[in-house]
Symmetry: C2
Subunit: 398 residues, 2 copies
């Protein structure tokens, strides 16, 4: 077998911005042939987004590695016909238009399956394809706000806070991957494709399963809790002599190790305020006072070393400049593979965070220029020659 999971799988990628392109980047890293289809002369919005490197968008370059790029006007009858001929030869169509756009163009799942019943059709949108909000436009920030995750993030008494990465887009992109892989697996048994749809807001709601459960079980809305976690203690950031660091005591055994070997205060184990996980979580502020009696006497580095020596989860509060040179994350785990792009130049990307023993993910090409692969892809899939391509370009179809 070719050493890539999705070798032989062709994905027609109509996605733009983040969520959809992030999905197809994962599929591409897993070996699928990704054909990114963009509007002639315009392309993905993010081709105009900052930051740039050598004048070209690093944002676009970062999310569109391993993809071929073609232009196609799907609103023209000829463009539509070309697309349908490609659907016949493809395995997956992914799009993140607003619901209804594909139908208006006559390119919704019901139409595509007529030309290829094996096609898997995957879409992502702010609110999904059905339900009262389905025609509302949605970006990551709206999904973060409406899912409740912002209400859970932030310091006690402070305002709700955006998660510092576009968690709705990213998690929705990964959920699209789950849906597509599941449908590919199912197709092995049924011989048929199906439709998968993802809503950004649903994806974030899925991530807050524990907080939702807490509300259902207690009837109480969780307070924002800064750097601590309502259900465990000591578990969060603590002051060291020089800077803050993290302790994560997830169970009784770890707590006892902490009291005996690090705090050297075994009496805290039987202190009625801290007897069980539930007690400690309820008295987290007092727990913090006790922990910081020790932690403020040592540097963060010393604290972490001592905690690790006792098998207690601990670590530094890294910023991006720390992460990208970290010997474990950047080094051993190879999370930042470099890609060389003809305009952008060398730019490190972020790897798909899954390690497969037999079929590792790979990066084989940089992001495409707009329409870069028109000749190659349309030649190969539709048998079009240079003259025909020139005519299509003249008519603004490609």
């Amino acid at each position: 077998m070719d050493k890539q999971i999705l070798s032989g799988i062709t994905v027609l990628d109509l996605t733009r911005v983040f969520c959809g392109p992030y999905c197809t980047m994962w599929l591409g890293d897993m070996g699928a042939k990704i054909i990114k289809i963009e509007q002639p002369n315009v392309g993905d919005d993010t081709r105009m987004w900052g930051p740039t490197q050598n004048g070209a968008s690093a944002f676009f370059a970062n999310l569109n590695r391993n993809k071929y790029g073609v232009t196609l006007n799907l609103k023209s009858p000829e463009g539509k016909e070309m697309f349908l001929k490609m659907v016949e030869q493809a395995d997956v169509v992914v799009e993140n238009y607003r619901p209804g756009v594909m139908k208006k163009m006559g390119l919704n799942y019901e139409e595509l399956r007529k030309v290829n019943p094996r096609i898997i059709y995957a879409s992502a949108s702010g609110f999904g394809t059905y339900g009262p909000y389905s025609d509302q436009p949605g970006y990551d920030i709206v999904a973060q706000a409406m899912s409740g995750i912002m209400s859970l993030t932030g310091h006690k008494g402070g305002p709700p806070t955006r998660v510092g990465s576009s968690i709705a887009d990213a998690s929705s992109g990964i959920n699209l991957v789950v849906g597509i892989l599941a449908a590919l697996y199912a197709r092995e048994h049924t011989g048929e494709g199906q439709e998968i749809e993802i809503a950004l807001v649903d994806s974030v709601v899925g991530l807050t399963t524990v907080e939702n459960m807490r509300y259902f079980a207690t009837g109480k809305v969780a307070e924002r809790n800064g750097n601590h976690y309502a259900l465990l203690s000591p578990y969060g950031s603590y002051r060291g002599k020089d800077k803050d660091f993290i302790i994560g005591c997830g169970n009784q055994k770890l707590y006892e190790l902490l009291c005996n070997n690090v705090l050297k205060r075994p009496e805290l184990i039987t202190d009625p305020r801290f007897l069980t996980v539930v007690d400690r979580a309820a008295n987290d502020d007092e727990m913090q006072i006790e922990v910081e009696k020790w932690s403020t006497t040592v540097t963060a580095k010393e604290a972490i070393e001592l905690l690790h020596a006792n098998g207690i989860p601990a670590g530094p509060l890294n910023d991006t400049s720390d992460v990208v040179v970290d010997e474990h994350i950047a080094g051993a785990r190879e999370m930042f593979p470099e890609v060389e792009h003809p305009i952008v130049g060398k730019l490190k990307g972020t790897a798909v965070p899954i390690k497969f023993s037999d079929t590792p993910t790979t990066i084989r090409k940089p992001s495409p220029l707009l329409g870069e692969d028109n000749a190659a892809i349309y030649g190969e899939m539709l048998g079009l020659d240079e003259v025909q391509l020139a005519q299509l370009k003249e008519k603004k179809i490609i």
Copy 2:
């Protein structure tokens, strides 16, 4: 075909706490038979975690629906032998022990594939199975801190902030699902399983791909940006007359609609501070002043309605109590299916946020009591009868 994607797939689930159980919950919702294997008399740590409902852990109940529960002492020779006989009949083994624990028990992938070369072996741990930190214990909070996501989350000038849900655990659980589905698909072609491994910290680093790119392209560490996003504007939370709400203008067209039809100030389109996406992002504070000249004159509800009428992404800042009764999220999208458990009683869960047209996810049973399915599973898979089971229980093997 049975209307479940993973019907016929058997998963031996050695996972505890959140990340692993979240993965197997997804696989179970997709139709796989999940056999949760717990330590006799002890079980998953989270059986002791709050909150409780009718005296039993709602935390455990929430993440372990659709699973069968057996107890097994994997450290005993007989327990190990029983496990290996089950591996012969299984498709997937998932575990989230610390790296090395399974090897010490002689149950690592290399051993399991000897009895079943089709077995897919998936593990998650704080830092993965290799690299200098691989033997460090890791919980969600440590992965959040070391991945950099905390450094990106929080208000300008404020401290790094924990994402209000356990994003490292949840995203790692989903990444495990991706890996397992990919390996199941690959197995259709190769006839063989493989090993997949996930590190909590890698998973969060994967979610921050855009922020990593920004650092690589600019050499600058992103500032925490509160409720706004560094690359777009207006895009974040804005003050209404009564409360804050969200506007998400992701592109030029939406910005022009906002100026013309909502702010009624077309001159802002050609204002040199706000000409392009990049300009607006650079002058986000001034943009906010201009937007709030309008937004503070209307209620959040009025603002959102007007924005929606003009096709501009907008929405409220929901807390959990809003989300769980939302007519779209809880209603049409059915994100909170109810499960009835013999002790916990009725408790709503959170659905897998993927909608499959042909093979929808389902919930078929509540979480198991400790060892609840010993007789059924060991009878079926190992042919053990009541007398044998009683002996195994006597010897503390089950």
